[in-house]
Symmetry: C2
Subunit: 339 residues, 2 copies
DNA sequence: ATGAAAGCGCTAACAG
DNA sequence: CTGTTAGCGCTTTCAT
């Protein structure tokens, strides 16, 4: 039988003070005598005391947890994002609980309604399928910050980059390198998925500004945003009577899958086909050739999102939703230019 | 002011029963009349009741959380592992808290001593630097399951594959393809790091069995197990008077970095240099060429580890440490064989 | 099969 | 600056 976990009262007894005083010391309450503090700290150390977090949560109404809900943690973009969120949260002494939604409306609804099997002080949600309309009258008042895409009607705080503009820039980059037959991989059938809709819009506009029509056979839908879907989609593009000379993929995993397929069948990148993606995951700098992509300022997204949560938690729950836009850069690598 | 979160007593009042009865329904206590249960469930739904987890934890002594501590979440192997652990934990209705240790002894010590800023029912720790000796007399009795590497003296439950044998098999595979100058990337200066020590041992034995001496200039140390370290190490191997014709990297990220470097400088893989890694991360099937690697049964590791925790939590805290060995396969891809 | 009462370990509000 | 009291919302005995 292991020794029971020491309680505040044990520490208080040992230090010869009241429980409240020990609590004051632990919580850095300013008005404690140096002498008392040292005494208490000695007792704390001697007993190897650790606060009982559930008890503190119950008493204080704060849990010290925030939830980070992303479509899937094994997507490198999201695991890299998670690392940034954890770092940002640490500055506020928050612990991050990672939740996977699969991007499904049902799972995302559970998150915004606070129906997860734990209590959190705030939620950072990378939205995929829920629309602004779905977010009206949510049945929970936990502060919520959306990340992912700029959503049109603002009913919640969000932090995001401009996918339309980024897709426009990236498509324009492809056109400037002399490409004329630019295809796109990553359309989703369900138009609630903002990512593909917005990126397609940027692509469409860039083509329009260059006087080029969107060709239906150059627009390839995918089921998921994974490498294998990119590889399959690339295969169908190559099978076309007139294959594209450039392909814009809606994320890096799709592009990396497409690249793998091109390398396998011996189509030269970028000579025969140029390739670009979104998100600048670590891997994209090490592919052969390295991938041109959109690098969001993911660290900023994480920090601003957590900071927004902190503001809401420190009383500001009534001011209108805040919308924070973050930067991106077009990272030009050898998949589009033989520099 | 949002409506207050309903409490058990609110539900009890609405349903016209006692608090205890509501609690019974929520916790699937068997002896509840059908009629009563339906009444309570209706009230639960009407009020949109959600248990207050900290309160439950305080009263029951169980938190419903387990910690998963890994070196870094942005390493794909660990994020993929995390997904498996979360899935396995869900079967026990546990929520997984992911902790990053950076592989440092200090951080790992905090984990085994339960000094994380939250309370958990159990811990799954992927050990990197702590030795069995460090694990003796830990100051915490939270059930702990180690994963990562088989450790010699067993003082805690663990689930792991056999790195020595895997490295032996992989090196042997390289030798069988006709390679004679096999280098290795991934040695760490600190011998407490079991991964590199064990994998080197397997490499050494395979060479010895083939009558080949380990060449010091073919053993390249790294600071970290990341792509860039692999690329740099590969550069130094190529600069040798007699470069290797095969390189065993101690994880896939190192191998992928090395591959990137080889592709950049125009050394053909596998013709000029064969390359192999460990872990079989998703990415490794899509590199150019795809990477030969060791595929651990990561799903089994996750499931067995969580199951072990469950056993310990259901009373069995005294039986001797359990050691579970999991399978691996040598996945042969084009980085070593032109099939 | 259901209810009443106690208490988990902490913080908050107030008193001194 | 420190102590006292109450109570957070649930589960656990123990009765009935």
């Amino acid at each position: 039988m292991p020794p029971a976990r020491p309680r505040l009262s044990d520490v208080a007894a040992l230090a010869g003070v009241s429980q409240k005083t020990v609590s004051n010391v632990i919580n850095d309450y300013p008005h404690v005598t140096e002498r008392t503090r040292l005494k208490v700290e000695a007792a704390l150390r001697e007993l190897n005391y650790r606060v009982n977090i559930p008890a503190r949560s119950l008493a204080s109404g704060r849990t010290g947890f925030i939830a980070l809900a992303v479509p899937s943690l094994d997507n490198p973009y999201f695991s890299e994002l998670a690392v940034h969120v954890m770092a940002a949260a640490a500055a506020y002494r928050w612990t991050v609980l990672i939740e996977q939604t699969g991007g499904s409306p049902d799972a995302e609804t559970l998150v915004v309604d606070g129906a997860m099997p734990y209590l959190v002080d705030g939620i950072v949600l990378h939205l995929r399928s829920l629309t602004p309309a779905d977010l009206r009258n949510r049945s929970d008042s936990t502060p919520l910050v959306l990340i992912g895409e700029k959503t049109p009607h603002h009913i919640a705080d969000y932090v995001a980059g401009d996918s339309v503009q980024a897709a426009y820039d990236l498509t324009t980059h492809l056109l400037r390198t002399g490409r004329t037959r630019v295809a796109v991989i990553g359309i989703e059938r369900d138009t609630r998925f903002a990512t593909s809709t917005l990126r397609f819009e940027g692509y469409r506009r860039a083509l329009a500004d260059a006087g080029i029509d969107v060709r239906d056979d150059y627009v390839v839908p995918v089921e998921r945003f994974q490498r294998e879907n990119g590889a399959i989609a690339m295969g169908s593009l190559l099978a076309l009577p007139e294959p594209p000379d450039a392909v814009l993929c809606f994320n890096d995993l799709l592009a990396l899958g497409a690249l793998s397929h091109l390398n396998t069948v011996g189509v030269a990148v970028p000579r025969d086909v140029a390739l670009a993606g979104f998100d600048d995951i670590d891997e994209s700098a090490y592919s052969s050739p390295p991938l041109t992509t959109i690098a969001w300022d993911t660290k900023a997204i994480a920090e601003r999102a957590v900071a927004l949560l902190a503001e809401r938690l420190s009383g500001d729950s009534d001011s209108p939703p805040r919308e924070i836009s973050v930067d991106y850069t077009v990272v030009q690598r050898q998949s589009t230019t033989l520099s």
